[in-house]
Amino acid sequence: MELASKTEEQLRIVSVEGSRIDAAVAIEFKDAMRVQTDSGPDLVVLDLSKVDFIDSSGLGAIVAAMKHMGQDRKLALAGLTPTVERVFKLTRMDSVFSVFPTLEGALAELKAQ
């Protein structure tokens, strides 16, 4: 489970480089997210545009990553592909995160705040 990250104007962008966040990689994903978010900006955007499949274990891992960041920081999600978006909608987890259709849109809006 490879994650790429860069920091722009007090905001960290973490991009998932794999196509699946499933039970086989959920723990690895959680650990990699910790490494990417333990220090650095309070605002993190998780770019999911390359992910075409997520299962309930992957969803749980994203929730765990957000909880690990703590109350005072924010994890936003961007670039959800159709099946990934559906999992967030069905479980109503789209109400817990700020969800943006594209990374560009997320950056434009979040940097303006």
Partner: protein, 145 residues
């Protein structure tokens, strides 16, 4: 068009789940499913198989066969999944309800979505313990003819 019945057996394991999903989807190729239908099939099967790997054959000491069989009917795909692992608690499958998300961040659920997704996306889901086997049967309402 109607698919011929198909099936296969995998040995329990997390990477085996990925293999089973791609095998299953490959068999559905002739149906030309759209992205939503494909997503439904992949999600339901992933949740069912992950549950078996995690709970019926708990690691590290347990493994065993999981068989997946599919018959294509006019009202969808009838999928039968069998394993020889531990029975479900109280001999029943979970009802699969979402818990409230109106809670403090630390109390947000990190699990319990699997059965909700199965019950929500699949129809006519039944579970039986038959001898030393778990039998799960469901209908996926796609590929009507």
């Amino acid at each position: 068009m109607q698919l011929s019945p198909f099936g296969f057996v995998i040995q329990s394991g997390q990477l085996a789940v990925r293999e089973a999903l791609s095998k299953f989807l490959e068999q559905l190729g002739p149906l030309n499913l759209d992205v939503e239908e494909t997503g439904t099939v992949e999600l339901v099967l992933a949740e069912v198989l992950n549950n078996i790997v995690e709970h019926a054959y708990p690691q590290p000491d347990q493994s065993g066969p999981i068989s997946v069989d599919c018959a294509h009917q006019a009202d969808g795909l009838i999928v039968n999944i069998k394993d020889q692992g531990r029975a479900m608690p109280d001999g029943q499958m979970p009802i699969g309800q979402l818990t409230s998300l109106d809670v403090e961040m630390d109390d947000l659920p990190e699990g319990g979505f699997g059965w909700f997704l199965i019950q929500h996306l699949a129809k006519d889901v039944t579970y039986d313990r038959v001898g030393n086997e778990n039998h799960l049967r469901m209908r996926l309402a796609i590929g009507f003819f």
